[in-house]
């Protein structure tokens, strides 16, 4: 869930608080396609190009109305994305209603048995796809010209301009990729559990926490940070108490930032 945000917020410095809302949008788009008999994973992959184009449009609008005018700093950019998130929520409620939605697939509702231990197949699928997506993005950002340009724009926009590259074009492209990941991540979200139009509120804090904990823009770090938070929350839940579980993410974040301000894998 956080890899897309790792690009848009971690690398591009865009306060993309609508990222979890885009994830939920991806989940509902998947739900709609599954209604036509499509597998949710296939639906997520097919939705990626559409979300990519959608991301290009959103960034272009953000650039024209805020970034170009130099008014993206402070609360204005955040307010813009909160507005988008709100529109997405309301749109989903109008289109699908407020009830929880789920999807069906062969790997949902069944488990893999290893001795006495049963692991739900949907969790294995979600983990495998998330791993593949993160690895692909990490390779793309480090091995391709455009990927390296995205990393460069995060470091020094002016220097990139001097090299003859258009930073706005690069950022638009990167934002498109970040939004495209929401389609697949949204499919995973609805594979893992029921979704409702307001689910994004639950993930805003955690997704940003994972990105900052990982180190801004680190793909592999995002995966590791997500695992750390997940395991830590489960341990606290079963040992210390339920009330403390939501505080774990920010507790760990505070400690890590105190010791290592750039995050676990930040430079």
């Amino acid at each position: 869930m956080s890899v897309g945000l790792s690009i848009s917020f971690g690398l591009l410095d865009v306060p993309h608080v609508a990222h979890p809302a885009f994830l939920v949008l991806g989940a509902y788009a998947t739900y709609a396609l599954v209604g036509y008999g499509m597998d949710p994973l296939v639906a997520g992959v097919l939705l990626m190009p559409m979300f990519f184009v959608f991301g290009l449009g959103v960034y272009q609008f953000y650039y024209m109305t805020f970034e170009r005018r130099g008014t993206d700093l402070g609360v204005r950019g955040i307010a813009f994305f909160f507005g988008i998130a709100f529109i997405v929520q309301v749109g989903l409620i109008l289109a699908f209603g407020v009830d929880q939605r789920m999807v069906e697939a062969d790997y949902i509702g069944t488990a893999v048995e290893i001795g006495d231990v049963r692991i739900p197949k949907r969790m294995i699928v979600a983990f495998g796809v998330a791993l593949a997506l993160t690895t692909s993005l990490a390779l793309y950002l480090s091995k391709t010209f455009t990927g390296r340009a995205i990393k460069a724009v995060a470091q020094d926009e002016g220097a990139l301009r001097l090299m003859g590259a258009d930073p706005v074009r690069i950022k638009r492209w990167a934002f498109g990729i970040a939004t495209a990941t929401c389609a697949l991540a949204g499919a995973l979200l609805i594979i893992v559990g029921p979704v409702d139009p307001n689910l994004d509120r639950l993930y805003i804090g955690r997704t940003f926490c994972v990105v900052v904990l990982a180190g801004m823009g680190s793909m592999s770090g995002t995966l590791v940070a997500g695992l750390i938070l997940g395991v830590a929350e489960s341990l606290v839940l079963s040992s210390v108490g339920t009330a403390w579980a939501p505080a774990v993410a920010f507790g760990i974040l505070l400690v890590v930032l105190g010791v290592r301000p750039a995050g676990l894998f930040g430079r």
Binding site: V98, D99, Q100, G109, A111, R118, I119, G193, G241, T242
Partner: protein, 412 residues
């Protein structure tokens, strides 16, 4: 002298006009009710039922010669915004009467407010919210009465009939689930059941694999679950995947959401074997013509408004809230909170869902929680849930439509 007479005439005319204008004003009834958030599905169905009641009353000419106006706001299933909504209803909208939000977690925050303002509050399916605050103008239209005995009792009685001796608890860390589970623990202890697992989890959890794995390892005979809609669906799915083990004889109890059509439709056969509370199910032992007639009208409007098409759980009871207000106002010819509360406290309320008498803390004197076991559900066809035989009533005895089967047997 002429001037004085003119002034008196003017005042009299103004008073008559004022009284006439007030008579023309509608009776305002205010409610904050979830239209979004985890309880949004139930809240929409409940509000539709109240709107149907309002339309019915207005078609008959209203109450006290005035039309009824329903003023509602979406509480987003968010307890923190509910006091603000009810303050607005009282101070800005100046409503005459209040109906509580649907659910416990969102009702609890307004109890101090209504007590302080001395307002009558018609409760709407909340659980034990008046146990501590003891507001004397609270009347909760919910079939479980005060305390958890009527809720957890029949479930655990049935479990013991199947030979259950050990119990596992799972509960959301929220007001309703904690109240219910605390009561369940006390009843289990009184019955001599041994608790072998007890786990709370954060509300809105999406994956229960680890908790179900722990329940399986604990080898409990009984699994008592207190959960909210999204969690209930995730738990049912996790139980299907991980399994709770052959020792479990009964599972369920307090799972909110398994009464909502979209969740029932999505889970389909995975529900088989679960025993859960309800307020109304279409078994032959329970159907009554008034409820059936209402549900026939409700389902037409629900379909048009994309609301829970079955409407078994909340709508008849929300319509009944309107009927109680109608009866009290009609009998007392008053909108005064104290007068209406006095009437509600002392009289039997005749509603579509049956006769209701309130006890000293404003809960049903004679609880009537329906415990039903899902059975024989095939595929995802929603219409099958309208038929008898899909939710077998095991308690109360007056509505019993079949015997409880062990989970392992009923799920297949």
């Amino acid at each position: 002298m002429k001037t004085i007479l003119k002034l008196v005439a003017a005042f009299a005319a103004a008073a008559i006009l004022g009284a006439s204008a007030q008579a023309q004003q509608p009776i305002k009834i205010g409610i904050g009710i979830a239209q979004t958030g985890p309880l949004g599905g139930g809240g929409k169905a409940a509000l539709l039922a109240l709107q149907i009641w309002r339309d019915d009353v207005n078609a008959k000419g209203g109450m006290l010669g005035r039309k009824v106006e329903l003023i509602s706001y979406d509480d987003q299933t968010n307890p923190s915004i509910v006091p603000g909504i009810y303050t607005k209803l009282l101070d800005i909208d100046k409503v005459d009467l209040l109906i509580a939000p649907y659910g416990t977690n969102v009702t609890a925050p307004i109890m101090p407010l209504v007590k302080q303002r001395n307002k009558l509050l018609m409760g709407n399916f909340s659980f034990d919210v008046n146990a501590q605050i003891k507001h004397d103008m609270w009347f909760n239209n919910a079939p479980w009465g005060a305390g958890a005995l009527a809720w957890g009792g029949p479930f655990l009685d049935a479990a013991q009939q199947l030979g259950g001796k050990t119990i596992a608890f799972m509960a959301a860390d929220a007001e309703f689930a904690q109240n219910l589970c605390t009561g369940g623990r006390a009843i289990a202890k009184a019955k001599g059941l041994q608790a072998v697992y007890d786990q709370n989890y954060p509300p809105n959890s999406v994956d229960f694999s680890s908790i179900i794995r722990a329940v399986r390892a604990a080898k409990a005979d009984i699994v008592f679950i207190c959960s909210y809609p999204a969690e209930s669906a995730a738990i049912v799915r996790a139980v299907a995947e991980i399994g709770v083990g052959p020792t479990v004889k009964i599972i369920g109890g307090g799972m909110v959401g398994l009464q909502f059509a979209p969740i029932m439709e999505a889970l389909g056969p995975l529900l088989n074997g679960f025993v859960n509370y309800n307020s109304y199910v279409p078994e032959k032992t329970m159907t009554n013509p008034a409820v059936k007639g209402f549900l026939d009208r409700y389902s037409v409007r629900a379909k048009a408004e994309k609301v829970d098409p079955l409407g078994f759980y909340l709508p008849p009871f929300n319509y009944a809230i309107g009927q109680m207000l109608e009866q009290a106002i009609g009998a007392t010819k008053s909108l005064d909170d104290k007068v209406l509360a006095e009437y509600l406290r002392k009289n039997v309320m005749k509603t579509m869902v049956g006769e209701i008498k309130f006890d000293t803390v404003g809960e049903w004197t004679t609880p009537r929680v329906v415990m039903a076991q899902f059975r024989g559900i095939k595929g995802k066809d929603l219409e099958q849930f309208r038929l008898p035989g899909k939710q077998i009533i095991i308690a109360p005895a007056a509505f019993k439509s079949g015997d409880l089967l062990p989970y392992d047997k009923a799920r297949n």
